[in-house]
């Protein structure tokens, strides 16, 4: 029997929303991912599950109108009987980022607002491991947790209409990568040459919720090489198993 109280509610005609306590915590994320893994194992073809921070949105794929009580009972049965503590194999991914000002168009200004030198900012940004609390908003957009207070600053007053794919930004408690060209208000400090989303791959997004990300500073020359490799599908990323 699990001790974390869940709330389960209908969400429209074909979905359920399951919520854990409203906290950004690795232990809650792990409990969520253990449930997602167990439920998916059992009902893979019937449901699509979207985990994010403290919730899982479960969308029925059957087409028929959802019987809420039956669905809720299934969720609780899987949740309470599940003894697996860890989901699938998780990894720490080391992602290359070029922080040079060609890419990090706001890095000087950002460093100044944070009262850091550019070098200190890069050193700090690359020294932490950020946990993936969910993927959403855009294909391959990772919600990363674990940004230290010393790197937190407000988003830009005026959003840009165009932010380059791969841009690495800081905004509030968040850091992350723009997976595609899009409008955006984050402070851009660098660019990651490896595509985090590629629909032509069998696995379009190599990262999943529960993985961790650490950034590695690379030169412009290495960026150019990794960019070309990335475009033809060679990523050569360093990944370290988390549950070994």
């Amino acid at each position: 029997m699990k001790e974390v109280p869940l709330t389960i509610r209908p969400f429209g005609e074909k979905a359920l929303l399951i919520e854990w306590p409203i906290e950004v915590k690795e232990s809650i994320l792990n409990d969520i991912l253990a449930f997602v893994s167990a439920f998916t194992n059992k009902y893979q073809r019937e449901w699509e599950l979207v985990p994010a921070y403290n919730s899982v949105t479960m969308i029925s794929l059957s087409g028929a109108k959802l019987d809420f009580d039956t669905a809720k009972a299934r969720v609780l049965e899987v949740y309470e009987k599940n003894t697996r503590s860890v989901q699938n194999e998780r990894f720490l991914w080391k992602l290359p980022v070029c922080y040079e000002s060609d890419f990090g168009i706001d890095i000087q200004k950002t460093a100044k607002s944070l009262d850091l030198t550019k070098e200190e900012l890069i050193k700090q940004h690359t020294s932490y491991e950020y946990i993936v609390f969910g993927i959403g908003f855009l294909p391959g957009f990772m919600y990363l947790g674990g940004l230290p207070k010393s790197l937190q600053l407000p988003r830009r007053k005026t959003p840009r209409l165009h932010v380059e794919k791969g841009s690495v930004g800081l905004a509030g408690k968040q850091t992350g990568i723009y997976p595609q060209d899009s409008p955006g208000g984050w402070n851009i400090i660098g660019n990651c040459p490896v595509p985090v989303f590629d629909a032509s791959h069998e696995k379009p997004c190599f990262v999943k919720a529960g993985d961790k990300i650490q950034f590695q500073s690379i030169s412009k020359a290495e960026y150019d090489l990794r960019k070309i490799e990335g475009e033809i599908g060679i990523y050569n990323l360093e990944k370290i198993p988390l549950d070994a």
Partner: protein, 279 residues
């Protein structure tokens, strides 16, 4: 092949969506007005989810290069085959060389072209639905082509459907959304008694409404969203997510449209009036 002599304002290939990738942020996509498409595919004795063209506001000019059967549905856009007017919800035989074009938008906003056995093309992540950058293009342009199977002979079981019309419906049926409880009486009163106008910001991702219902200061941890989720921004604006809508969001989700009401809203355009009816 079906050839686009002119592409129209915004024409896309759509089936019923791309399932199983929302956990990596890929929207479900698929036809905006499922009600209209199901009827056209029923008439052609297709699979319900066979791919169709979704045609928005201003229609394309299309050349059929081989014989087949088609059915139009959804918005009425003054369609003609070789310059002769044709009806929606009727199975129509076309020959090689026939030209389908569209005229004035009479009602609704999105019209559909269904074809015997569905349109083909390249599936990406299990679906034909165009959504950039998951697919390499976002809509059709002049001189594009799309494959279909030639069909010479086919006896439709039913050739025409008379049906209730959801295009004129003004009210949108909604369920309470996950954060419905943050709404105060000051929000609820206008929400369920006033009319709302579809703003210029309306597309396959989301419909924004012009009238605001009052500010709030609730924030939520980013969580899942669905087609038909009604978000309330801090300034009091209502945003209704549609088929290409983001998979997660951080605004409170105050209402959720019924599936049928997504089809109703999909036929509304800038300036149209809607109201909410709680189920």
């Amino acid at each position: 092949m079906l050839k686009f002599l002119k592409s129209g304002f915004y024409t896309t290939l759509q089936d019923f969506g791309r399932f199983g990738y929302r956990n990596i942020g890929v929207p479900v996509s698929g036809v905006m007005d499922e009600v209209s498409v199901k009827k056209a595919n029923v008439l052609l004795e297709n699979q319900q989810e066979d791919a169709v063209l979704e045609i928005t506001m201003t229609g394309p000019t299309l050349l059929f290069e081989s014989p087949t059967y088609i059915c139009l549905s959804g918005a009425r856009m003054s369609p003609t085959l070789n310059n002769k007017p044709i009806d929606n919800y009727r199975v129509i035989k076309v020959e090689a060389g026939d030209i389908l074009s569209y005229g004035k938008l009479e009602n609704g906003f999105r019209t559909y072209l269904a074809i015997k056995n569905g349109f083909h093309g390249d599936k990406v992540l299990g679906s034909y639905s165009q959504y950039y950058p998951v697919t390499s293009t976002k809509c059709f342009k002049d001189s594009d082509e799309i494959p279909y199977e030639p069909v010479k002979q086919y006896e439709p079981a039913i050739s025409e459907l008379k049906l209730e019309n959801h295009l004129e419906q003004q009210y949108i049926e909604v369920f309470k959304g996950p954060e419905f409880s943050i709404l105060t009486d000051a929000h609820l009163e206008p929400l369920f008694s006033k009319d709302f106008t579809v703003s210029k910001e309306n597309n396959r991702m989301a419909y924004q409404l012009t009238e605001e219902i009052g500010t709030h200061s609730h924030s939520i941890l980013t969580s899942g969203t669905l087609p038909g989720t009604v978000q309330l921004t801090p300034t009091g604006r209502l945003i209704i997510l549609m088929k290409d809508g983001q998979t997660t969001g951080g605004y409170p989700r105050v209402l959720q449209l019924s599936d049928k009401s997504i089809s109703v809203l999909a036929q509304k355009k800038f300036g149209d009036i809607i109201s909410f009816k709680l189920l």
